[in-house]
């Protein structure tokens, strides 16, 4: 394997502070970094447990987020509550294909892909799947980069609710689906944030040093 020739900092007795990127010796584990004063850990503590916890919580919130109405539009006393999906269908039926696609990608596709992506990463570490570490790293980077963009629908609701307040003429009120949706976005972001990518590469490091130790 081509990655076999590389050695990690931990194997050679070093530890990187992830805040200020200064290098320390491994003995300083659990002490504070002398530059930025944050606690030093060779790998993030409880990274997999935390990542799993946030991911499972986000999956739970995913259902109310898509089933409960996110807002209700009322004009002259009549109107129906709309969910995320019905809002997208409405945009498509009005002929706004481009913008409908943007909302579809931001509110349905990205949260789904984020959950599936994190699930793949966590399961592959749990069951030691022999997949490319480089691909997994890019998968993580994709999840991390794209994560915040699913907040889009929350801001759309915020703008609509503030603008359309014309009494009985027309008004939009927010629904509780929005709370669940915001929770999905934040929880998946936290799940990604608590995942230590260095664990992906630890599996590929030469194991000779560990064998000598044990």
């Amino acid at each position: 394997m081509s990655t076999g020739e590389y050695k990690s900092a931990r194997q050679q007795g070093f530890l990187l502070c992830r805040h200020c990127h200064s290098l320390h010796s491994l003995e300083q584990q659990h002490q504070r970094c002398d530059v930025c004063q944050t606690p030093l850990h060779s790998r993030m503590e409880h990274t997999l447990q935390r990542s799993w916890a946030f991911l499972i919580a986000s999956v739970i919130c995913f259902f109310p987020a898509n089933l409960l109405p996110i807002m209700t539009f009322k004009s002259f006393g009549s109107g129906a509550p709309s969910t995320i999906m019905s809002g997208i269908i409405e945009l498509f039926s009005k002929g706004f294909w481009g913008i409908g696609l943007v909302v579809l990608v931001a509110s349905i596709v990205i949260p789904c892909l984020k959950i599936i992506g994190m699930l793949t990463l966590l399961l592959s570490l749990k069951f030691h799947w022999r997949t490319s570490a480089r691909q997994k790293t890019w998968l993580y980077r994709g999840v991390e980069w794209v994560g915040r963009w699913s907040m889009l629908d929350i801001f759309v609701i915020a703008v609509l609710v503030a603008l359309v307040q014309l009494g009985s003429l027309a008004s939009i009120s927010p629904g509780h689906g929005a709370t669940a949706f915001a929770a999905v976005v934040i929880l998946t972001m936290l799940s990604a944030l608590n995942f230590d990518t260095r664990l992906i590469w630890d599996k590929y490091a030469p194991t000779d040093t560990q064998h000598h130790d044990t």
């Binding site: 990655t3 590389y6 050695k7 990690s8 900092a9 931990r10 050679q12 070093f14 990187l16 992830r18 805040h19 200020c20 990127h21 200064s22 290098l23 320390h24 010796s25 530059v35 930025c36 004063q37 944050t38 945009l91 009005k94 706004f96 913008i99 943007v102 570490a133 480089r134 790293t137 991390e144 915040r148 963009w149 907040m151 889009l152 629908d153 929350i154 801001f155 759309v156 609701i157 915020a158 703008v159 609509l160 609710v161 503030a162 603008l163 359309v164 307040q165 003429l169 027309a170 009120s173 927010p174 509780h176 929005a178 709370t179 915001a182 972001m189 990518t197 260095r198 590469w201 630890d202």
Partner: protein
């Protein structure tokens, strides 16, 4: 100062690969040979540019938040919207949590980032002691990625498209300030990074130790 082994190596923050430290020319960047993470970018005058951008953002921040972003008119009735008003309407609509989320990601985090950046760059640029420099840099690093002004902007755009059939919409002065603020935020992200600031903090501390 004695050269310790830790100062002749760097480690990749994404895959923990240990790499020998190399000197970079201005404008060059160093990527991890194994996972291709960007390890360091020797930017041109990052502190000076960061300060300029922080001041520009500071000027734009208040009008972007207080002036109307959009105004809507329908049957002679008018309604205008600011970011803070959208927070209040969500709160009035019974969604306190969503209101808090919008307040935090679209107002508080961007505002705090601008204030921190101003403080950090001003301290480093003018060699001010800066007792809270370390805490500020840590907080700035933690907040990275949680400011969502550009997403608010796209959200506004989608709201316009949803409403343009039933009402007349006018962009307000706040929208232009918001666009400017997003532009300066993007520039800040590509021209300034905390790593360079940390290196300056380290250098300062080392020179302080050499001449007590």
């Amino acid at each position: 100062m004695m050269k310790t082994p830790t100062s002749s190596f760097i480690a990749c923050h994404d895959c923990d690969l240990l790499i020998a430290r190399t000197r970079l020319q201005k404008g060059q960047s160093l990527n991890c040979p194994r996972c291709h993470a960007k390890l360091f970018h020797a930017r041109l005058n990052p502190i000076e540019r960061g300060l300029a951008l922080a001041i520009t953002s500071l000027i734009l921040f208040l009008p972007a938040n207080l002036l109307p972003i959009l105004s809507l008119s329908i049957f002679g009735q008018q309604q205008s919207e600011t970011i803070l008003q959208s927070v209040l309407s969500l709160y009035d609509g019974g969604l306190a949590i969503v209101a808090a989320v919008v307040l935090i990601f679209a107002v508080l985090v961007p505002g705090l980032q601008i204030l921190l950046l101003t403080y950090i760059t001003a301290c480093l640029q003018f060699s001010i002691a800066g007792h809270y420099l370390r805490q500020s840099l840590n907080l700035y690093h933690t907040l990275h990625g949680w400011g969502m002004l550009e997403i608010y902007m796209i959200g506004t755009l989608i709201a316009v498209i949803k409403l343009k059939d039933i009402a007349n919409l006018e962009p307000g002065l706040g929208l232009y300030c918001l666009a400017g603020l997003i532009f300066t935020t993007c520039l800040t992200n590509s021209l300034f990074d905390t790593q360079h600031a940390w290196q300056m903090v380290k250098q300062r501390r080392n020179s302080g130790e050499a001449q007590p």
